[in-house]
Symmetry: C2
């Protein structure tokens, strides 16, 4: 097994590459010219720099004889400015299309893709919460075409909220954990959230990699939902964190309105990835972050 990984410096990617390195799985990172490679160098992970030239990328991929691609890179924007609309398409559709194009005539037999629960606003089969989610859906349609014509196996893991140590994203859990003194101004807090701990996410990717890499020949395009399956209202999440921290977190509930298209209940229509089960409860996960 020889993997090419995109998004290796992101939250999930950095945890996944550490795990893959521990497991001794040969992994190469696909990075941008401006990516800081300190962490990859520490781990001894080789990398390919994507300059935007599809022919060069194709040659590099051929040289390494990869068996599969794990695609985690994405531009995430909860809301976007007018100028950012095209950037979302560029990062989340154009870039991975170029990558797929570069796989033609190589040894790559499978592609592990990442989607989002936000492709299912109001629990619909497809309704995007934001342009980010629409760009993920758009890419799945392109990916489906390549799966079909390159005869590669494809799995898309759709993720909901994720959390864990070393999370530099502007997400609610790191925000609450770093809170001190001043009251946090939050929405009314009745929205249901479903957080999956990073170790469970990494295990889901490792499991999907095994499924893809050991599968019989043939191709398919499958989609699975990855989540803890345990919903808590934002208010319950804060209570749980106060319990774990053994101190109150000052919050002013209802100080801000819900977001436009706030997801009140997570998508429930997804198929579970067979053979994968989340094992870390929200309480356990929060404790782990605090202890680290």
């Amino acid at each position: 097994m020889k993997l090419l990984l995109t998004g290796s410096t992101g939250f999930i990617g950095s945890h996944l590459i550490q795990k893959l390195t521990e497991l001794g799985i040969s992994t190469t990172a696909l990075i941008r010219p401006n990516t800081v490679t300190t962490r990859l160098d520490q781990l001894g992970v080789p990398y390919i720099v994507d300059t935007g030239d599809v022919a060069a990328l194709h040659r590099d991929i051929k040289t390494y004889s990869f068996t599969g691609v794990v695609h985690l890179a994405s531009l995430f924007l909860g809301t976007h400015s007018p100028e950012q609309a095209e950037q979302l398409i560029h990062s989340n559709v154009s870039f991975p299309t170029r990558l797929l194009e570069a796989l033609k005539g190589t040894t790559v037999r499978w592609f592990l893709n990442t989607g989002t629960f936000w492709q299912h606003y109001n629990n619909e089969e497809y309704r995007a919460v934001n342009l980010y989610a629409a760009s993920k859906q758009a890419f799945q349609d392109v990916l489906n075409y390549y799966a079909d014509t390159l005869k590669i196996r494809v799995i898309t893991l759709k993720l909901n909220d994720t959390y864990g140590p070393n999370d530099t994203r502007k997400k609610i859990i790191p925000l609450l954990l770093s809170q001190s003194g001043v009251s946090l101004l939050l929405s009314p807090g009745e929205q249901c959230l479903d957080f999956t701990y990073i170790d469970d996410i990494v295990n889901a990717y490792c499991h999907a990699i095994t499924v893809l890499d050991t599968a019989e020949s043939g191709y398919y395009d499958d989609v699975y939902a990855i989540s803890s399956g345990q919903s808590y209202t934002l208010k319950q999440v804060v209570s749980l964190m106060e319990e774990c921290l053994e101190k109150p977190i000052p919050v002013e509930w209802g100080a801000t309105p819900y977001r436009e298209r706030e997801v009140m209940y997570p998508w429930t229509g997804g198929r579970v990835l067979p053979g994968w089960t989340p094992t870390i409860s929200l309480k356990e996960g929060i404790k782990r972050i605090i202890t680290l």
Copy 2:
């Protein structure tokens, strides 16, 4: 009614803009910096030049107070080279995404989009014949998000083969009509084709424009199939043309193989646009081209 039209210099666009001008419908073309404007100037059609700057495009669209957008522009490639993959995404997804983004906070209430029968290889709900078709499907996902959040009405007209006078595209009918002397090297010729004459296509767009512009407030995202509904094998098409031309067309059948993913039977799963009926048979259409 005030329209903004993309793709005004293409085959369908140039016929549509002529018709809209005849009908006295206020239409402005959205063009690229390098578009030749001779024909637009002749017709007295004003135009906005899209420089790639979404803020400038937004200001221009606001100035004109358009009620709707007719989107015909697209990069069509039956097959693509590795370098062209991103171009397809750029022209068929990124550009119209920027256009939609520029519509925020304007008077535009509807968007008429163009898709292709090739989004339905083997008559499937979605299976792209080529990357061009995949890019059309991808854009529909993005368009659906904007319809939903901008609260605009959307119709996508999915087209099959089209033909008519002044067709500079490398399509089979103009190719056969311009043929003289040397034998044309063709596939075995058993694939079924469904050609719609340009006047019927133009009428379909005019009808959809009326539907969209006169609809009650509220938004939706509808898809209709536009085709003659009459299938002929390529062999039958050639016979029909020989009959109309009153001379044989030298063809070497089976000299080339079918294309990869050749569509042997056109998609039949589409809904017909209510109130629109094609009126020109293939024989009548070919005669019109010959007579002109």
